[in-house]
Symmetry: C2
Subunit: 195 residues, 2 copies
């Protein structure tokens, strides 16, 4: 599969790692097992993004990122310098000092889901909006009919407990399988949301 | 993929259809959407098993089937004549009249999960034990460490409500991806349970 042939243009795409039993984090927000495929190299010093992640990002070709406030906080705001060099829209009522003061310039805060998606679409300029979670944001997007595509990286583990990706959904939603591929250990499934 | 090259010998394999959000049935035990890929032809008269199902069954090469009592009841005991012509072990304390009287000869009833799996393995004679659910039985098997493999047919729908396949699991379980393939609309993922 070439990246060029599969560019996802102007779409709002949820992209998340899940266990086979549907969790996006284990107890205590633990994502180490689920995000293992994202990194390569041993130790904090030599850790870098895996070829598999680079392939995914090239294929998506995001023009903006959308994330929830818990995701932002759990990542400590990526130290003000997120890996994807595009505008990040964060769904939250409360703008942190680093952003309000103009110290961190990569972030835009929006307090409603409709406004957040609209802002991200505008900032993406025809390229994809990459929705990186968490589960609460994903559910809000789904329930509001704002997602165009879902991409799951299914990690070969049953966590048993944690935070479920698909929970509190209002309605049954038909999907259309776009593609399925295997990574190092993951199965990557991409679906279109049928509206 | 040839069926011959992938025979699953002597294994205890759970094989179930699930929605992308992890349900094996919608509200009211509705499985119509999830089992659609299993059938072909229109109307009750012309309905028959799909080529995809035949391919799956040939690959598994089951020597016995294991099912829970609710599954047995919901299928009305397959009218005494299940489609897979191998012994069916049903987990239940209560033997129905048709079986007790010797009228229905395809079924063996066992009242404990360990005994049920042991009986099915023995009856399978070195071929696979095909565990066809439901969710409660699958969870008991997983929690007792009695499953060797999981095969999921992921159907492109979010049901939102219903019976979850993976629920009430006692421990985290590592899996190893054996294969992934796409069917007519499903993604079929086969995993080994790492013990």
């Amino acid at each position: 599969m070439t990246a060029e042939g599969n560019k996802i243009l102007g779409t709002v795409l949820l992209d998340m790692s899940v266990s086979l039993d549907g969790f996006v984090a284990g107890p205590g927000d633990d994502v180490e097992r689920l995000h293992r495929w994202v990194f390569t190299g041993a130790g904090t010093e030599n850790m870098r993004f895996s070829d598999e992640l680079h392939e995914v990002l090239a294929e998506v070709d995001a023009g903006a990122v959308l994330a929830g406030r818990r995701t932002f906080d759990l990542a400590s705001g990526w130290g003000g310098d997120p890996a994807m060099k595009v505008p990040h829209v964060i769904l939250s009522h409360d703008v942190p000092d680093e952003v309000a003061s103009g110290k961190w310039t990569s972030f835009v805060f929006e307090s409603g889901i409709e406004a957040a998606v609209a802002r991200a679409r505008k900032l993406a300029g025809g390229r994809a909006v990459y929705v990186l979670g968490g589960a609460g944001l994903a559910q809000q997007c789904l329930n509001a009919g704002l997602l165009d595509e879902l991409q799951m990286h299914v990690v070969p583990v049953l966590l048993g407990k944690g935070i479920r990706l698909f929970d509190h959904l209002d309605a049954r939603t038909e999907l259309r399988l776009i593609s399925a591929a295997t990574g190092t250990e993951t199965v990557r499934m991409r679906y279109q949301v049928v509206k």
